[in-house]
Protein backbone atom coordinates (compact mmCIF):
# COMPACT_ATOMS: atom_id res chain seq x y z
CA UNK A 1 0.00 0.00 0.00
CA UNK A 2 1.23 3.50 -0.80
CA UNK A 3 1.18 6.05 2.01
CA UNK A 4 1.49 9.76 1.28
CA UNK A 5 1.85 12.57 3.83
CA UNK A 6 1.22 16.33 3.72
CA UNK A 7 2.03 19.51 5.66
CA UNK A 8 3.20 18.94 9.25
CA UNK A 9 2.41 15.23 9.09
CA UNK A 10 4.96 14.99 6.27
CA UNK A 11 7.48 17.18 8.10
CA UNK A 12 7.28 15.20 11.34
CA UNK A 13 7.42 11.78 9.70
CA UNK A 14 10.28 13.07 7.57
CA UNK A 15 9.18 11.62 4.25
CA UNK A 16 6.62 12.42 1.56
CA UNK A 17 5.60 8.92 0.65
CA UNK A 18 6.40 5.28 1.32
CA UNK A 19 5.27 1.76 0.41
CA UNK A 20 4.21 -0.43 3.33
CA UNK A 21 3.03 -3.98 3.71
CA UNK A 22 0.43 -4.09 6.45
CA UNK A 23 0.01 -7.01 8.84
CA UNK A 24 -3.32 -8.81 8.51
CA UNK A 25 -4.82 -7.34 11.69
CA UNK A 26 -4.54 -3.74 10.38
CA UNK A 27 -7.85 -3.42 8.59
CA UNK A 28 -9.20 0.10 9.27
CA UNK A 29 -7.82 3.63 9.04
CA UNK A 30 -7.77 3.83 12.87
CA UNK A 31 -5.73 0.61 13.05
CA UNK A 32 -3.32 1.97 10.42
CA UNK A 33 -2.72 5.13 12.47
CA UNK A 34 -2.07 3.05 15.60
CA UNK A 35 0.30 0.75 13.72
CA UNK A 36 2.22 3.70 12.21
CA UNK A 37 2.69 5.39 15.62
CA UNK A 38 4.83 2.44 16.73
CA UNK A 39 7.22 2.84 13.80
CA UNK A 40 9.42 5.59 15.31
CA UNK A 41 9.63 8.94 17.01
CA UNK A 42 8.69 10.94 13.88
CA UNK A 43 5.52 8.88 13.38
CA UNK A 44 4.68 9.15 17.09
CA UNK A 45 5.05 12.95 16.93
CA UNK A 46 3.01 13.25 13.73
CA UNK A 47 0.21 11.00 14.96
CA UNK A 48 0.25 11.97 18.65
CA UNK A 49 -3.37 13.16 18.42
CA UNK A 50 -4.84 10.73 15.90
CA UNK A 51 -8.30 12.33 16.10
CA UNK A 52 -7.04 15.46 14.29
CA UNK A 53 -5.52 13.49 11.40
CA UNK A 54 -7.52 13.61 8.18
CA UNK A 55 -7.39 10.70 5.75
CA UNK A 56 -8.04 10.19 2.07
CA UNK A 57 -8.18 6.84 0.31
CA UNK A 58 -7.53 6.97 -3.42
CA UNK A 59 -8.16 10.76 -3.51
CA UNK A 60 -11.41 10.65 -1.51
CA UNK A 61 -11.96 11.73 2.08
CA UNK A 62 -12.47 8.79 4.46
CA UNK A 63 -13.16 8.59 8.18
CA UNK A 64 -11.19 6.58 10.71
CA UNK A 65 -13.66 3.69 10.73
CA UNK A 66 -13.27 3.10 6.99
CA UNK A 67 -11.84 -0.31 5.99
CA UNK A 68 -8.57 -0.02 4.11
CA UNK A 69 -8.51 -1.20 0.50
CA UNK A 70 -6.28 -4.15 -0.36
CA UNK A 71 -4.13 -1.87 -2.47
CA UNK A 72 -4.16 1.83 -3.35
CA UNK A 73 -3.05 5.20 -1.98
CA UNK A 74 -3.77 6.30 1.57
CA UNK A 75 -3.01 9.93 2.44
CA UNK A 76 -2.60 11.35 5.96
CA UNK A 77 -2.70 15.08 6.59
CA UNK A 78 -3.78 17.82 9.03
CA UNK A 79 -7.11 19.63 8.69
CA UNK A 80 -7.09 21.54 5.43
CA UNK A 81 -6.55 25.29 5.23
CA UNK A 82 -7.16 26.11 1.58
CA UNK A 83 -9.43 28.72 0.10
Amino acid sequence: MKLIYFAWVRERIGKETEEVTLPGEVRTVAELLQWLRARGAGYAAALEHPQVIRVAIDHEHADHQTRLPLDGEVALFPPMTGG
Binding site: F6, H59, P78, P79, T81
Partner: protein, 154 residues
Protein backbone atom coordinates in the same frame (compact mmCIF):
# COMPACT_ATOMS: atom_id res chain seq x y z
CA UNK B 1 -27.55 17.65 -13.93
CA UNK B 2 -26.19 21.19 -14.08
CA UNK B 3 -23.33 22.71 -15.99
CA UNK B 4 -19.89 21.12 -16.18
CA UNK B 5 -17.55 23.08 -13.87
CA UNK B 6 -14.16 24.45 -14.93
CA UNK B 7 -11.59 23.35 -12.32
CA UNK B 8 -7.91 24.29 -12.27
CA UNK B 9 -5.03 23.91 -9.81
CA UNK B 10 -2.03 25.96 -10.84
CA UNK B 11 1.06 27.81 -9.60
CA UNK B 12 0.54 30.87 -11.84
CA UNK B 13 -1.89 33.70 -11.22
CA UNK B 14 -5.32 33.82 -12.85
CA UNK B 15 -7.03 36.58 -14.82
CA UNK B 16 -10.47 37.23 -13.46
CA UNK B 17 -11.70 39.03 -16.59
CA UNK B 18 -10.73 36.05 -18.77
CA UNK B 19 -12.51 33.66 -16.43
CA UNK B 20 -15.69 35.73 -16.47
CA UNK B 21 -15.59 35.97 -20.28
CA UNK B 22 -15.29 32.19 -20.48
CA UNK B 23 -18.66 31.85 -18.71
CA UNK B 24 -20.51 34.72 -20.37
CA UNK B 25 -19.17 35.35 -23.90
CA UNK B 26 -21.89 35.00 -26.50
CA UNK B 27 -24.52 34.18 -23.89
CA UNK B 28 -27.77 36.10 -23.46
CA UNK B 29 -29.26 34.05 -20.64
CA UNK B 30 -26.87 35.04 -17.83
CA UNK B 31 -28.38 37.55 -15.40
CA UNK B 32 -25.84 37.40 -12.59
CA UNK B 33 -22.12 36.73 -12.30
CA UNK B 34 -20.46 36.49 -8.91
CA UNK B 35 -16.72 36.27 -8.35
CA UNK B 36 -14.95 35.53 -5.11
CA UNK B 37 -11.20 36.17 -4.99
CA UNK B 38 -9.25 35.01 -1.94
CA UNK B 39 -5.99 36.90 -1.43
CA UNK B 40 -2.89 36.66 0.76
CA UNK B 41 -2.83 39.22 3.62
CA UNK B 42 0.33 40.35 5.40
CA UNK B 43 -1.33 40.10 8.84
CA UNK B 44 -0.23 43.55 9.90
CA UNK B 45 3.25 43.18 8.40
CA UNK B 46 4.01 39.88 10.16
CA UNK B 47 3.78 37.76 7.02
CA UNK B 48 6.27 37.73 4.11
CA UNK B 49 4.43 34.98 2.22
CA UNK B 50 2.18 31.96 2.43
CA UNK B 51 3.40 28.68 1.00
CA UNK B 52 0.54 26.56 -0.25
CA UNK B 53 1.06 22.82 -0.36
CA UNK B 54 -1.51 20.68 -2.11
CA UNK B 55 -2.29 17.04 -2.89
CA UNK B 56 -1.99 16.77 -6.68
CA UNK B 57 -4.72 14.66 -8.18
CA UNK B 58 -6.93 14.77 -5.11
CA UNK B 59 -7.10 18.58 -5.17
CA UNK B 60 -8.64 18.55 -8.66
CA UNK B 61 -10.86 15.57 -7.81
CA UNK B 62 -12.22 17.10 -4.59
CA UNK B 63 -12.72 20.54 -6.15
CA UNK B 64 -14.66 18.85 -8.95
CA UNK B 65 -16.85 16.98 -6.45
CA UNK B 66 -17.58 20.21 -4.53
CA UNK B 67 -18.33 22.11 -7.75
CA UNK B 68 -20.67 19.38 -9.01
CA UNK B 69 -22.58 19.52 -5.73
CA UNK B 70 -23.05 23.26 -6.25
CA UNK B 71 -24.10 22.74 -9.87
CA UNK B 72 -26.73 20.23 -8.75
CA UNK B 73 -28.03 22.35 -5.91
CA UNK B 74 -28.31 25.68 -7.74
CA UNK B 75 -29.31 26.44 -11.29
CA UNK B 76 -26.03 27.69 -12.68
CA UNK B 77 -25.14 28.35 -16.30
CA UNK B 78 -21.41 28.26 -15.52
CA UNK B 79 -19.00 27.65 -12.67
CA UNK B 80 -15.22 28.04 -12.38
CA UNK B 81 -12.86 27.30 -9.50
CA UNK B 82 -9.12 28.05 -9.71
CA UNK B 83 -6.82 27.38 -6.75
CA UNK B 84 -3.13 28.31 -6.72
CA UNK B 85 -0.28 26.54 -4.93
CA UNK B 86 3.34 27.47 -4.16
CA UNK B 87 4.67 30.63 -2.54
CA UNK B 88 2.18 33.51 -2.60
CA UNK B 89 2.98 36.99 -1.31
CA UNK B 90 0.70 39.52 0.41
CA UNK B 91 -1.59 41.17 -2.12
CA UNK B 92 -1.43 38.19 -4.48
CA UNK B 93 -4.36 35.97 -5.37
CA UNK B 94 -4.90 32.50 -3.87
CA UNK B 95 -8.28 31.27 -5.04
CA UNK B 96 -11.00 32.27 -7.49
CA UNK B 97 -14.62 31.18 -7.70
CA UNK B 98 -16.88 32.40 -10.51
CA UNK B 99 -20.58 31.52 -10.67
CA UNK B 100 -22.99 32.50 -13.43
CA UNK B 101 -26.74 32.10 -13.30
CA UNK B 102 -29.93 33.60 -14.62
CA UNK B 103 -30.78 34.65 -11.04
CA UNK B 104 -28.76 36.52 -8.46
CA UNK B 105 -29.54 34.37 -5.42
CA UNK B 106 -28.30 31.20 -7.12
CA UNK B 107 -25.01 32.83 -8.12
CA UNK B 108 -24.44 34.36 -4.65
CA UNK B 109 -25.37 31.29 -2.63
CA UNK B 110 -23.36 28.94 -4.82
CA UNK B 111 -20.23 31.12 -4.44
CA UNK B 112 -20.71 31.19 -0.66
CA UNK B 113 -21.18 27.38 -0.56
CA UNK B 114 -18.13 26.76 -2.76
CA UNK B 115 -15.86 28.90 -0.57
CA UNK B 116 -17.07 27.19 2.62
CA UNK B 117 -16.36 23.75 1.18
CA UNK B 118 -13.06 24.67 -0.46
CA UNK B 119 -11.79 26.00 2.90
CA UNK B 120 -12.45 22.78 4.79
CA UNK B 121 -12.46 20.04 2.17
CA UNK B 122 -10.01 20.88 -0.63
CA UNK B 123 -6.59 19.37 0.20
CA UNK B 124 -4.48 22.52 0.53
CA UNK B 125 -2.34 23.58 3.49
CA UNK B 126 -0.85 26.99 4.19
CA UNK B 127 2.54 27.53 5.83
CA UNK B 128 3.46 31.01 7.01
CA UNK B 129 6.76 32.64 6.04
CA UNK B 130 7.47 35.42 8.49
CA UNK B 131 8.96 38.81 7.69
CA UNK B 132 11.60 38.57 10.41
CA UNK B 133 12.06 34.84 10.99
CA UNK B 134 11.74 32.82 7.78
CA UNK B 135 9.52 29.72 7.62
CA UNK B 136 7.09 29.63 10.53
CA UNK B 137 4.00 27.70 11.54
CA UNK B 138 1.39 25.90 9.49
CA UNK B 139 -1.86 27.84 9.55
CA UNK B 140 -4.31 26.09 11.88
CA UNK B 141 -7.76 25.19 10.67
CA UNK B 142 -10.49 27.19 12.39
CA UNK B 143 -13.45 25.52 14.07
CA UNK B 144 -15.66 28.25 12.58
CA UNK B 145 -14.70 27.10 9.06
CA UNK B 146 -15.74 23.53 9.84
CA UNK B 147 -18.91 24.79 11.52
CA UNK B 148 -19.74 26.88 8.45
CA UNK B 149 -20.47 23.64 6.57
CA UNK B 150 -23.42 22.90 8.88
CA UNK B 151 -25.33 25.74 7.25
CA UNK B 152 -25.51 23.76 4.03
CA UNK B 153 -26.65 20.43 5.49
CA UNK B 154 -30.36 20.81 5.06
Amino acid sequence: MGCEPHIRVQAEDFDLAVEIDRLTDGRRDVGAVVTFTGKCRDEGGRLAALELEHYPGMAEAEMTRIARQAAERWQLSGLTVVHRYGKIRPGENIVLVVTASSHRKAALEAADFLMDYLKSRAPFWKKEHLTDAGPGQWVEAKAEDENALERWKK
